[in-house]
């Protein structure tokens, strides 16, 4: 995993709901801690762009879709269980910089 791949994320959120805000801040924290500048996050508000949610089969919010690197993964929820999220996204847990997450 030392290849410096760029992580491309899509985060589907529902306006400013609690779960969505939590997911965004948790994702941001993970990225900052483990991916430095190797990440790109696109936030899609399903209320503003329902057609995109429909097209991508997004039912639950918040939903995080990792587009690259392969394989593509989908995680639903606030992303609060860091270890599980990291494993799912295929991010090596360096351990040292892990931040206390909400």
């Amino acid at each position: 995993m030392n290849r410096r791949n760029k992580f491309k994320f899509q985060l589907y959120t529902a306006e400013e709901t609690q779960n969505s805000s939590l997911a965004f801040s948790n994702l941001l924290a993970i990225c900052k801690a483990h991916l430095a500048d190797r990440y790109e996050i696109e936030v899609i508000d399903v209320f503003r762009q329902p057609q995109r949610a429909l097209a991508h089969g997004i039912r639950m919010t918040p939903t995080l879709v990792k587009l690259t690197p392969y394989p593509q993964r989908t995680i639903v929820g606030t992303l609060k269980q860091t270890t599980r999220v990291l494993a799912a996204l295929g991010i090596e847990n360096s351990g040292a910089q892990s931040l206390p997450l909400v």
Partner: protein, 569 residues
Amino acid sequence: MVASAKAPTGIFGFDEITRGGLPHGRTTLVTGGAGCGKTIFAMQFLVHGVRQCKEPGIFVAFEESPQRIIANFKTFGWQLETLIPKMLFFMDAQLTTDFLQAGDFDLSGMLASLGSLAKTMRARRIVLDALDVILAHLPDAVSRRREVYRIHDWLLSSGLTGVITAKSASDDKDIHGVQPFGFVQFMVDCAVELNHRMIYGVSQRNLRVQKYRGSSFDENESPFVISKDGFDVSTARPLVRTGMPVTTERVSSGVTRLDTMLGGGYYRASSVLITGFPGTAKTTLCGAFADAACQRGERTVYVSFDSDGPEVVRNLSSVAIRLDRHMKSGLLCMISARTIIGSSETLLVRIKALAKEHNARCLVIDPVSTLSKSGNEVTAHGVAERLLDWCKTDGITLLCSSLLDDASNQQYTGTPLQISTLSDTWIHLNYLAQSGERNRGISIMKSRGTAHSNQVRELLLSDSGIHVADIYTLGGEVLMGTLRWEKEAALRAATELAEAEGAIKRLRLETEEAEINVRLQSLQRELRAKQAEVSLAIQAIENRRSESSLDLARVQQLRGADPIVEDNK
């Protein structure tokens, strides 16, 4: 409430129970255990909306993939594929197998998608199928409740008529004694509960409307069956019924003397019950009726529970009832349901479907008591009642036979289904054991609105057909069979004797008369002879007298005497 406030479901019987359908623009919860028919109920609601009300619908599938659902519904005659996706949209809302959950989530994404979809396709109806599946993924009761409220609020604001289905193992409460998702029932405007019970191994489905805000509804459990047209909920007949056509037309029973006993036959569209112990010729009378109906050219359905169709046909041919020709011509539809096990509701629906398909005017069910077989005792009465009611409404003449099991019980206490009270005509067949014989007796227990014979007659079966014979009562005892024959023979002999005696007497009298006539003739001849003699004698005297006067005149002439002056004074 105005009529437009209801969204008809097209479910036979359900719209009657709810006085028009589900609450329009509101949410209805359908609960029930596995295999209760929740999805079918919901789908029928959508399909009816699309086809009959021009209301496009959305089906949100939480449990199964849309492909599988569509495939499963192929057995129904709804042709879902022709409606997809313009009028009917399936949204796959399953959680995929590689789905990973981390923390709390909500359904806003789905609702946003649905909102945009509903707007695009102008949907008016929506079904959320198996909502419990998605709710189970939520971490706690609070978030579950939150999501249900979210959905409910969204449904209300969207103005869609919604159906939410959710599993509920009947009577099954969780450890806290609370029904899972019980609060949903309080929230929605209408709640429908489906259940599926086994009673003595026979499946019985029931539907009950638990609540319906702002509307009256039938509160009882109503049995239903699922047929290829969807749900068929049986309802009690409405209290007010007018305009039902009543006819005075008579149809033949197939036995001439029985028609006479009934004063002309059965009424058209009436229900006739034939009760009797095994072997009292119930089936034979059923066959005779079917034969007569087909001979009139009326399409007939014959449902036989006792024996197979061909067997019935063969057995009846021994009494000159030939049903095979009617089967060939297609007038007669013979159904044998010998080993059928199932709920009487299902049987009723099947019989109804068959009769409709065959376009039947006459229906024979032999015997109807089968309906109350194992596990159906409770429901059978209602089924029989609806069977009779349905036949009347559709103008079908119904002939049912019913078996009385207890041959020793000669009391006519009625039939197991109490159809006897409902049916218009009740014919009872029984055995009379007497001087070493068993003979069949036929009597009419009742026949509404027709003058009918009060007499017990003897029913005779032979290869020339069915005959009904008078019986004799002798010293308070009924004579049947050989005794009747002996009585008939004795009567015949007595009549012959009397006739012979009369003939002899007449002959004797005629002889006497002839003798007198002969004597009369000879006396007359004698008389004529005497008369001739008398006239002869008179003539002789006359002659002599004239001769003597001539002689005198001659003498006088010769003497030149003076003419004689007549002195008459």
